[in-house]
């Protein structure tokens, strides 16, 4: 029984959410509010359970106190106390990011571009040159100096073309999965009305 009710709720919410495509109506807020409530409830339950079980660990006593200081946000004038936990979080995040960012996103990309040059055979060589030229002009597009602006602007346009070609390509390869999802939802609604789901 609860399965059938579940399917009916799911189909109704799906239809309501899809209705937003054609016209925004107030009924759409039911779908919005349902999912917000579910998401917030879920994260809150997980957070509370974790806080209750973990806060007694000696290692985590300081962050527990700092975490409680977040509540100073509601105290108006003493809002600044909440900056201490934020400062720690930002420090951790920045440190973690700076660690490996150049390894995977900079050096390995350079290596991959160098390795494309294998032979002097014209077809391979020209392709490799296109790749290298694209990378270099793309990087030039991102320079911010106002010197040599005439010369640089010409290269910047070429770089922009490469960046946009990448956007077009990634769009074409990615929409495939998104259309699968769209088609599956339409099929779900059709199956619901033809009674295949029950």
């Amino acid at each position: 029984m609860s399965d059938i009710i579940g399917i009916i709720i799911a189909a109704t919410l799906t239809l309501i959410a899809l209705s937003q495509l054609f016209k925004y109506t107030r009924i759409y807020r039911i779908a919005e509010m349902s999912s917000i409530a579910a998401v917030v409830a879920n994260t809150t339950v997980v957070a509370v359970i974790t806080i209750i079980t973990k806060s007694y660990t000696p290692q985590l006593i300081i962050p527990t106190i700092l975490g409680l200081s977040y509540f100073s946000l509601f105290a108006g004038k003493y809002r600044w106390i909440s900056r201490y936990p934020i400062a720690i979080m930002v420090g951790v995040g920045t440190g973690i990011t700076l660690r490996a960012i150049l390894q995977s996103q900079f050096i390995e990309q350079i290596i991959a571009t160098i390795k494309v040059f294998t032979t002097f055979e014209p077809f391979n060589f020209i392709n490799a040159l296109i790749l290298a030229a694209g990378v270099i002009s793309g990087l030039t597009m991102y320079t911010f100096t106002d010197k040599y602006s005439k010369e640089l602007n010409a290269v910047r346009i070429i770089g922009r073309v490469f960046l946009f070609i990448a956007m077009g390509t990634l769009f074409a390869t990615s929409v495939y999965g998104d259309y699968t999802l769209a088609y599956n939802r339409i099929k779900f609604i059709l199956d619901f009305f033809t009674g295949k789901l029950f």
Binding site: L18, A41, Y70, A87, G91, Q105, A166, A182
Partner: protein, 213 residues
Amino acid sequence: MSIVYKKYIPIGITAITGVIVLFDYYVKIPEINSASTILTSWGTHLSYFAVLISALMIVRQSIPKIIKQEKDWYFYGYMLTILIIMSATGFISGIASSNYSWWYNNFYGPVSTTLMAIMGIYLMSASYRAFRIRSVPVFGAMIACIVVLIATAPAGPVWFPGFGTLSQWIQAYPSQAGIRAFTMAAAIGTLASGIRTLIGLEIGFLGAKEDKD
């Protein structure tokens, strides 16, 4: 004086924390390595408290709307009801229980998958407008997009032989170059932004530049 504990001490904390976590990656010094592990676990623990604050904020914003019976107040009532029922179920019977997952699966599941589907539908109407040739770069994007779309369609290569090879070439060279330039520049931007944060220049997260009381 107040600027010291409102601004300078937090900046110092960020810098010290950041440098410890950063150095942990490069060196094998037991003190730094364990300090970094502890700090990382602090960060995770602190974000649970942020969740509490956020939930509290939602409740604080909704209740006045319901009491004053503002426009659409009953939607907020509905939200609070589900929020309370679901949290109670979670606390009483645990998050692994079937009661709890019934609520989660039927109230969030369909909407989240529908949202992905809506995104797919919107991508089509967005591409109709976005790939109108207004400049040279967009022309490149459009050509690449059409070639790869045709080659990706399961029956595409049958009807348009040759597009498969062309699409592979585009993906392997010009498009790859664009992605690489984007990634490399983003890496440098991230590094610069991180350094600005650590030396106390880019402190968007610490309120305004100066506090007036």
